[in-house]
Symmetry: C2
């Protein structure tokens, strides 16, 4: 658990501030994350990484010479928002463009993809290579669905070397992508971790047992076996990775970089014991170990776990792996000095001035407080249920659903308050709430709820008092937006399973002449029924966890929270509306 | 707890082997520890550090340019033996001499002092500066009794810089000693740690509480307070250190290096939050923070704790602190390449051939198996009681007494077996057993028991069958040896409290004509009584823990194990001897 806390809600921000303060000569704070203290040389592709907090040195600790140019920093175990990623990338981008590279998780994919689109729309070329090194998270046939774990370091090193060599963006993408195809990892866990301020761990491993295939977000392992000896652990990890050697490589005679990564509570002394076993087994298999790294490179708070990564080298990859680096957390060899960023742009987190609130009709502004009250009610429901939602998510996910919804709804409600105080129309209240939600919550749910509220707000507009059919149209637009961003369909056991019947019922009830409040109540009960029905054995949207199919058995937390939100929204509507 | 284990008894050795394997380009294995891969330049003082295992990166991770030339590596939480320290120092010593610098713990002091004497006797000048940064472990008036914790790093950096500047040994000692006088630390703990293979933690901190003044060996804190917020922790640490600013320094306007050290389970994200609070408070006090370090520098397995260190700089100390370094675990700036150690001396752990067993009389050799049986019985007693002795030690000490005695008695019994098989006389059996005990156990008890057995063996010799008065003389010699090494007197609540009445009773009983076996039995019961009487409120020998006076209330584990050993020895004598 975390012992060092002020307000848990401030954990990630305070930690980031302290990180930057401790490394002022190396990194600067930028909107959305951190960047190298030195300016990106003209013509050099900028490598931008990022992800949730709680994985130090991933990701901020890996910013500097020989590694990333910038890192977008999300909240605890939550993807940074698209806005954060975009801003962090802008702070280091040159005309040569931007490479996004990060671990393959649904929330990161959603948000990085939005940021990539925005950069490209602005004429800054941007491409993505997702790290997919965790062999246990999907079958070889579905290797593009695999998660990224400690192999991040190897892929980031390759990307940075290619960029620093002066390769073009296309070349950097090709090189990084090939590197990713040669990086494989496998992890085991002995205990879970407890998120800052949470009352219990995300998961536990029974005493005397070991979970195989754990992720770095506290996702439990997939197989549970009796705790083996250190040498048996080393043998299992090596054997697993030798079963998945890339097709064009023959292990005997090959050269491989090796990373033994500690997840948090497994200490260096133990990691060295594992390394001793790993090195012997690899050497016995005819593999030459090149510049091994034994330590913490991608952690999960105080989770007890270990992973082994092999990076199958060729001459170029070996040059990349062996090249110098100098970041807060990763230093090797001798790095040539580079020019400092001009003082004038060093600290660029000054928040932009809020945009003026658009003019609205009196009727639309009069309905703004209803939208405000709905959002406040959802926030209050989440405050009450956050722990339960987190536990639900922890069973098969990363356990951050509760706190992510908490951050998002708090920010959304605060933004709605400000908008209403400024006389905003109903549409603007929803849009401001949605943007704040996406930006502060990050993660998957933040991106989806933010997009949904924005779509609804745009449909409702600021011109007139929204009618029942305006609202049902807005919900339909929100539903379409979530399906478009999230790529999920009904039956995928996501929030879409609850949202679609909600929207369809609402439309049919309103069309049949029911009042909004009555129609909403019927639709909300449909959503609740559908959310409960997400309990089954299928994997959830966007998650790389096919092995989990056999162990599910709980409803999708996103669907549950959507249904509960619609239910409390119905209560507010019953009180505040007459039509 | 440690999850990654083969045989717990091999933990430290296997970890050291893996550490060296992972850092072959930087360090080489030498007898007793590790040394830089590069040879010490002619005329340069060699800085030799060391201590128990379980504190990584202290101590092996701190060997390299800008830090130590070699580190002696003891077993888990146990001092290296004098032999190990001597050997590690020899591997890097030049004519310019050797500086020993290490944290001030009784076991380390005993063993380093013996090694220092041996080097000086051989004409290699050697001096010592003990690190005493932990302000909570003794009052300002008794600052030389304080423990060394994470301030080790600052003192080692100063020592290395002075040596690398080409200063003479006297100058290096003076500079390092002045540095130590300007380094102050204070720590807090939230949970204990569990030694590899142990069934439970050395100590626990009640949930929701924080212990102030913890050590790095799992020593519990001295005051227990309700768990404060992160900012309150930072404030407490800063306030504590600002109460103890060196007399010649005025904080306002001063410059200080800062180390925020994590003990194991408190992760980087939390350390950065503490650092943010610390930096603000120091800045508010007018202190300029110079090149802060936030991370793990002296750990205690997975113990949850934090310490703050301030190193009050002047121009020279700032130059030392800011100078480049490149070790397995500590890298900053750019280090000039140095010459590699010639390949021929790179791996120098080949164990020396055992010395031939000295000739013995048939009578003395015939009594060897009795000494062998006594030692085996003590080993068996320790196997049975090790956990209990460890728990006893953990109440006020570092909890390693049980495992230290286990390692020592196993090695002693094995050495006695070999000696008897080789036809050794009784004296040689005891001497071989004692040397093996000291070398394998390390720590305080290892050094003392080793010295005692050697003294007894030298007195008994290999010439004749030992008489009852030979044995009582030998015990008297052993007693004198322990008092001489350990500097403890009766009443200090150490094993001496049990040993002196044992020896005196044995002598008086034998002088009165009792058989050895009968005399021994009476003496052993005196020892037991005296050991039980060590329960009180006084601090234990050589330990820097005056604050503990108020919280003791258990007997000294060293006295208890001595009394039990003498008791089982009496059983053996009753069976095997007739006189």
């Amino acid at each position: 658990m975390s012992y060092v806390l002020n307000d848990p809600a401030d954990f990630a921000d305070e930690s980031a501030a302290g990180f930057v303060a401790a490394h002022r000569t190396l990194v600067r704070r930028v909107t959305g994350g951190v960047a190298r203290a030195t300016a990106t040389p003209a013509g050099q592709v900028a490598v931008v990484i990022g992800g949730g907090s709680g994985h130090y040195p991933a990701f901020a600790g890996l910013v500097g010479a020989g590694l990333a140019h910038a890192a977008a920093m999300g909240n605890v175990f939550a993807s940074p928002s698209a806005q954060q990623i975009y801003s962090a990338a802008k702070s280091v981008a040159t005309d040569a463009g931007v490479l996004f590279t990060y671990g393959n998780y649904a929330g990161d994919v959603l948000n990085f993809d939005q940021a990539e689109k925005r950069l490209n729309d602005e004429g800054i070329p941007c491409h993505t290579v997702r790290v997919t090194d965790d062999i246990y998270s999907a079958s070889p046939a579905e290797h593009t669905k695999r998660r990224g774990i400690a192999g991040d370091l190897a892929v980031f090193r390759a990307a940075a070397w290619a960029a620093e060599q002066g390769m073009s963006l296309d070349e950097v993408v090709e090189f990084t992508s090939r590197a990713n195809s040669r990086v494989r990892s496998l992890g085991v866990a002995f205990s879970g971790c407890t998120l800052p301020g949470a009352s219990g761990p995300l998961f536990t491993v029974p005493a005397g047992q070991m979970a195989v295939g754990m992720g770095i977000h506290g996702e439990p392992g997939i197989d549970v076996v009796p705790l083996p000896t250190a040498n048996e652990i080393a043998a299992r990890l090596v054997a697993g990775l030798l079963e998945e050697v890339p097709h064009d490589i023959s292990p005997a005679g090959a050269r491989a970089a090796v990373i033994v990564n500690g997840l948090g509570a497994v200490k260096s002394e133990e990691l060295f014991i594992i390394y001793a076993g790993v090195e012997k087994l690899l050497t016995d298999a005819g593999i030459t170990v090149v510049e091994p790294e034994v330590g913490e490179y991608a952690t999960s708070f105080e989770m007890a776990g270990i992973s082994l990564t092999l990076f199958w080298l060729d001459d170029q990859f070996e040059e990349a792996w062996s090249s110098p680096s100098y970041t807060p957390a990763y230093r090797k060899g001798v790095v040539a000095p580079t020019s400092k960023t001009p003082e004038s742009i060093r600290e660029s987190t000054s928040s932009e001035l809020p945009e003026a609130i658009p003019a609205a009709s009196a009727e639309s502004a009069a309905a703004g407080p209803i939208a405000q009250a709905v959002i406040a009610a959802i926030r209050d429901m989440i405050e009450r249920d956050a722990d339960e939602l987190g536990r639900l998510d922890a069973i098969a996910g990363d356990g951050d659903h509760g706190i992510g919804m908490q951050r998002g709804t708090r920010a959304a409600a605060a933004a709605a308050d400000l908008a209403v105080a400024g006389g905003a129309g109903t549409g603007t209240v929803l849009i401001r709430a949605g943007d704040a939600w996406a930006d502060k919550a990050g993660g998957t749910s933040g991106a989806l709820w933010g997009a949904a509220l924005r779509a609804a707000g745009e449909r409702i507009g600021d011109e007139r008092a929204p009618s029942a059919s305006d609202v049902s149209d807005a919900v339909t637009a929100a539903c379409a937006s979530i399906k478009s961003y999230g790529k999920a369909e009904v039956g995928d056991k996501t929030m879409v399973d609850a949202l679609v019947p909600f929207a369809e019922t609402l439309v049919s009830q309103v069309t049949a002449g029911e009042s909004l409040s009555a129609a909403w109540t019927v639709a909300a009960s449909e959503a609740t029924r559908a959310a409960d029905a997400t309990t089954d054995m299928l994997p959830r949207m966007g998650r790389a966890r096919p092995h989990m199919e056999k162990s599910l058995g709980t409803p999708d937390p996103g669907a549950i929270s959507l249904a509960r939100a619609m239910t409390v929204a119905g209560h507010v509507l019953a009180i505040t509306t007459k039509n």
